[in-house]
């Protein structure tokens, strides 16, 4: 009787298994994220670093003050988020006379200010509709700096590419950067899922805020 275990076919078979395994790993780790997320450039390449340069840009004693000059809180305490034209045109008010020679400024002035159109900014950190998130509770009461959750945008000369989940329509920053959950270098702006909120609340001794109704009204 032939010993099947010794046949070259059998040893070679394991290579097929390995090929399937490696192929799947490549698909799952490399190709899948590429397919799942669309990459979109922002309509205008805004330069945070330039605007926050105290010599030429926005003044403010602290960095938070600087951030909040544009990303302001409304009178009722709600967060205005990405500024609208009425904030930008405090300085860039005349489409005929740009402040700088930057092509980005020119694009903004001609395509948006002159046309009286709002810029359709792509928002990295927008939470789903079912989540109630209060910025003022975190920034004022929790004394958390903007950069803690959003990263150091102050240094950015260009806006990061916006990646959108093709299936859910949510930004990759909400869930997708740390796709495995195994990264050792955790950044809040990589992942903003419910577990992340709860983890931070717990770390700061705010377990009571992990109750469902605090965020899901």
């Amino acid at each position: 009787m032939k010993n099947r275990g010794d046949s070259p076919d059998k040893r070679g078979g394991w290579l097929f298994f390995l090929a399937g395994l490696i192929g799947a790993l490549i698909i799952g780790w490399v190709i899948f994220p590429m397919v799942l997320y669309s990459k979109q450039e922002q309509p205008v390449n805004f330069n945070h670093a330039l605007h926050l340069n105290p010599d030429i840009g926005i003044e403010g004693e602290t960095q938070q003050e600087q951030c909040r000059f544009c990303h302001r809180f409304r009178d009722d305490g709600t967060f205005a988020g990405i500024p609208k034209n009425n904030t930008c045109t405090m300085c860039h008010d005349d489409p005929e006379f740009p402040i700088t020679k930057s092509p980005d400024e020119k694009k903004y002035l001609t395509e948006y200010v002159a046309e009286d159109k709002e810029v359709p900014w792509l928002i990295y950190s927008r939470q789903p509709d079912c989540v109630y998130f209060s910025h003022i509770a975190h920034v004022e009461m929790g004394e958390i700096g903007c950069e803690t959750c959003h990263g150091d945008f102050a240094e950015n000369k260009t806006l990061p590419v916006y990646e959108e989940n093709r299936l859910t329509g949510y930004s990759r920053n909400i869930w997708g950067k740390r796709i495995s959950g195994l990264y050792w270098d955790k950044k809040p702006w990589d992942r903003m899922k419910m577990d992340d909120c709860a983890e931070c609340h717990t770390e700061h001794g705010q377990e009571q805020n992990n109750a469902c109704f605090v965020c899901h009204k």
């Binding site: 070259p8 076919d9 070679g12 078979g13 394991w14 290579l15 097929f16 298994f17 390995l18 090929a19 399937g20 395994l21 490696i22 192929g23 799947a24 790993l25 698909i27 799952g28 780790w29 899948f32 994220p33 799942l36 409304r74 009722d76 709600t78 205005a80 988020g81 789903p128 509709d129 079912c130 989940n165 299936l167 859910t168 329509g169 949510y170 869930w175 997708g176 796709i179 495995s180």
Partner: protein, 822 residues
């Protein structure tokens, strides 16, 4: 190493094992779950800054203050205003659901349209405003050139004295047609009754909040009568009491145990249509037991006692008539109310400190009976409750400035001199201004329609007029129908041309003295957002149309726009002085009405106007309690139990024909003297009672609009299964009546009247009077959207009971019917 089946399977197994060690399956599972939350039809709340816009609701003439919450330009919620005198914080379900009337584009017209399909199908194609003006302007000018401007008619659902209604009236005058017809409402009854008994043509000023005994003859206090926000608030005051004051007793006189009747302290059910007899029975007891206010009767009334005319003829007075004809025994027979209830009710009412008898029929969207109203109002006079806090006040008219008169050209003058099609104001209907039932009848019975072009404003007569479908028939015969409705209602679906108005949240519109309010009141709505579709304020459209027609029609409208006309009229408010524009909940208006004078709450007209533009209001409480001089503007200068005006009209008409004929024309079956006083008229139905042994009465609900404005579809979710189940509405009948017909709860029946039949299901209801079939109003639409149309039946389509004596308006509460099990 060849790729055989075994190796291929190994490859696949490797793939499956490998994929488990990647995020793919886990991420896909989670994302798929999130994907299901983001389907395109899942509502997506607007993002942005919140704001509140203050305005006034004009969905009904109640004029409640509303605060609209917005996110950027999206209106998201409507609430009652707490800084507003009429409805401190409250709002009715229709008002709360009003956003659906704004955003539901299948419910409204998104721009001017012309009909392409069959009439009634609602098939239209968009056209430009210019084309719409041209088509309509040419047609109207053509009729004028032909010398027959009276062939233009307007149906006007706006309240009298509103700027919109004034403009429509003016337009018809300038064009030269006398056929400006209003849709019926309880205001007609109040206006005529007030005119006959007190001499003024304003609404009834019931001081409900200060009353301690409210005797309501049929007013749906909890179903939306009057200004619903105000009445609900008053209901709270009556029950919980004013601070440190007693609460009020409420007696509801109504044949059906409505919400109001169920929650009142006492419920007295007379047969529908006999309420007037009951009121006179109460008057009998009050007079006989000496419970009247003799001082008031002696000093301020006319016709209570018998009196002699100049010719020396002795006329019967109210007292003699009532004592002779309305004994509790007789009244008990007519009404079906027990004698002892009549006696005890009369005593309770007359002995109260501040009693008020109020009259209505359900909501205020339909007319009442004129003599019934007069009978009820005479109770207020008997107890001296007129011009007294807690009774009926007699405020001065709202001092809006009049527009300069129209100078009609020769064509228009000729047109205006022709008879009105509805015969209002003729000897048969001397006090009516409009009779839509006669209007429809005239068109229906003519060989060719005497009306060529019908303009319909803020009205849906094809659905709301209780005439057994006569108006619908008339519409079919009118060659050209133009609708100005924002909504795809039944009348608009019959139109050839639609020039849609903006909805109430997108335009300015004034509120003029809401029904039953005890003080003059004026408010202006503030557009909460700009029109979201290609619609325009009909006020502006009418002016542009007039100007496009040129000639003298255009010169009657020398103003820039609707707002300018409102401003001109509002100047009268400033000139009259003494108004207020703020409201302090700590000092409600019903407290202020006792003040003799009021300081104005503004310094100049600009301040008043700016306030109005910001969704403000104007009222004048101090003027409500007036001295007796010049209070009543009747021919005798007194409150008239015996109306001299009726006597005059009978006399002047008697020059041409006998008094009997004149009275018969008016629908009056009693003698000349009695005809001038409140009395009971059995509504004579020509139909054989043996053939139709039961009586049908429509009824209204607070959570369903039954007028020209559609119900927000949300409200259909609040309807009970015994009112509407799937697509069928229910008739409420008493189990005793059901037993006679061998009907069980839920059975399907045809309700047949001389005018037609409808199929409904049976709801056994102990609160229904035996022998009466109650059908809910507001169902049975064929217009609007999928959520509204095809649900239940419209009882107006089988109403058939003739006309109310003297007023000539439709009697819709007394239709003879029979039930046939289906």
């Amino acid at each position: 190493m060849e790729l055989n089946r075994r190796n291929f399977i190994k490859f696949l197994v490797g793939g499956v094992v490998g994929i488990q060690a990647t995020p793919l399956p886990w991420k896909i599972t989670d994302d798929a779950a999130i994907w299901t939350q983001n389907w395109p039809w899942v509502p997506d709340p607007a993002e942005g800054a919140f704001s509140e816009a203050e305005s006034v609701c004009t969905l009904c003439p109640g004029g409640c203050g509303i605060s609209v919450r917005k996110v950027e330009d999206r209106a998201i919620k409507i609430e009652g205003r707490t800084d507003y005198p009429i409805n401190p914080g409250g709002i009715c379900p229709v008002g709360a659901g009003g956003l659906q009337l704004l955003y539901d584009e299948t419910l409204r017209f998104t721009g001017p349209m012309k009909r392409v399909g069959m009439r009634g199908k609602g098939e239209f194609v968009p056209i430009s405003w210019d084309e719409a003006f041209k088509v309509l302007g040419d047609r109207l000018s053509g009729l004028r050139r032909k010398g027959s401007p009276e062939q233009v008619a307007a149906i006007d659902g706006n309240q009298r004295q509103t700027t919109m209604s004034v403009l429509i009236e003016r337009f018809m005058q300038a064009v030269g047609s006398p056929n400006h017809v209003r849709t019926p409402s309880i205001e007609d009854t109040y206006r005529m009754g007030n005119f006959l008994m007190q001499g003024t043509e304003s609404t009834m000023a019931y001081d409900l909040e200060n009353a301690d005994y409210v005797l309501s003859f049929g007013c749906g206090l909890l179903e939306g009568w009057g200004a619903p926000g105000r009445v609900m608030n008053a209901w709270g005051l009556w029950h919980e009491g004013h601070p440190e004051k007693r609460s009020a007793t409420i007696t509801q006189v109504e044949s059906r145990a409505s919400n109001t009747a169920s929650k009142a302290d006492y419920w007295i059910p007379p047969r529908p249509g006999t309420e007037g007899a009951l009121a006179l029975g109460l008057a009998h007891v009050i007079i006989q037991e000496g419970l009247c206010d003799d001082g008031f009767l002696k000093e301020h009334t006319f016709g209570f006692e018998d009196w002699n005319s100049f010719s020396g003829r002795v006329h019967t007075g109210f007292k003699t008539m009532v004592l002779k004809q309305y004994s509790p025994q007789r009244v008990a027979k007519i009404t079906g109310v027990e004698q002892k209830s009549i006696v005890s009710l009369a005593r309770h009412f007359a002995k109260a400190k501040a009693p008020v008898a109020i009259y209505g029929k359900g909501k205020d969207g339909q007319n009442g009976s004129l003599y019934e109203f007069m009978a009820v109002h005479s109770l207020n006079a008997l107890v001296g409750g007129i011009n007294r806090a807690g009774g009926v006040l007699v405020p001065e008219a709202l001092p809006l400035r009049s527009l300069p008169p129209v100078n009609p050209d020769a064509i228009a003058s000729r047109g205006l001199s022709r008879a009105r099609l509805d015969k209002a104001g003729t000897p048969a209907y001397p006090f009516a201004h409009s009779l839509i039932n006669n209007f429809a009848d005239a068109i229906k019975s003519a060989s060719t329609s005497p009306i060529d072009t019908l303009l319909v404003f803020s009205a849906n007569p094809a659905f709301t007029v209780p005439d057994g479908g006569d108006f619908q028939e008339a519409l079919k015969r009118i060659p050209f129908v133009v609708s100005f409705s924002p909504y795809r209602d039944e009348t608009a679906n019959m139109a050839d041309l639609v020039l849609p108005d903006s909805t109430y949240l997108e335009k300015r519109e004034d509120v003029v003295w809401p029904v039953g309010l005890q003080y003059p009141f004026y408010a202006l709505s503030n557009p909460v957002l700009s029109p979201i579709y290609d619609t325009r304020n009909t006020g502006d459209v009418l002016m542009e149309l007039a100007n496009a027609m040129g000639e003298t029609v255009g010169s009657a409208f020398p103003w820039e726009d609707y707002e300018e006309v409102v401003k001109i009229r509002a100047k009268g408010l400033f000139e009259a002085g003494g108004g207020r524009m703020t409201y302090d909940p700590a000092l409600p208006v019903w407290e202020q009405t006792k003040e003799k004078t009021a300081k104005p709450g503004y310094n100049d007209f600009d301040e008043l106007w700016d306030n109005l533009l910001a969704g403000g209001f104007w009222y004048r409480p101090g003027n409500a309690n007036r001295g007796w001089d010049d209070l009543f503007t009747t021919p005798t200068g007194r409150f008239e139990f015996f109306s001299k005006k009726i006597a005059d009209r009978i006399e002047s008409a008697s020059n041409q024909s006998s008094t009997e004929t004149v009275l018969k024309q008016m629908g009056i079956t009693v003698g000349e003297d009695e005809a001038c006083m409140p009395h009971y008229e059995a509504v004579v139905s020509e139909t054989d009672r043996a053939q139709y042994p039961l009586q049908m009465m429509p009824y209204e609900m607070i959570n369903l609009a039954s007028g020209w404005v559609p119900s927000p579809p949300f409200l259909y979710k609040t309807i009970f299964d015994h009112q509407l189940l799937k697509d069928e509405s229910f008739a409420a009948i008493n189990p005793v009546t059901a037993a006679e017909y061998r009907l069980r709860d839920g059975d399907r029946v045809a309700v047949q009247s001389p005018a037609g039949q409808v199929t409904v299901r049976i709801n056994l209801f102990e609160g229904a009077m035996p022998g009466i079939v109650y059908l809910p109003l507001g169902f049975g639409h064929t217009g609007y959207d999928e959520f509204i149309k095809g649900k239940g039946i419209n009882p107006n389509s089988i109403v058939s009971a003739g006309a109310d004596p003297l007023s000539g308006e439709p009697v819709w509460w007394n239709t003879p019917v029979r039930l046939i099990k289906v």
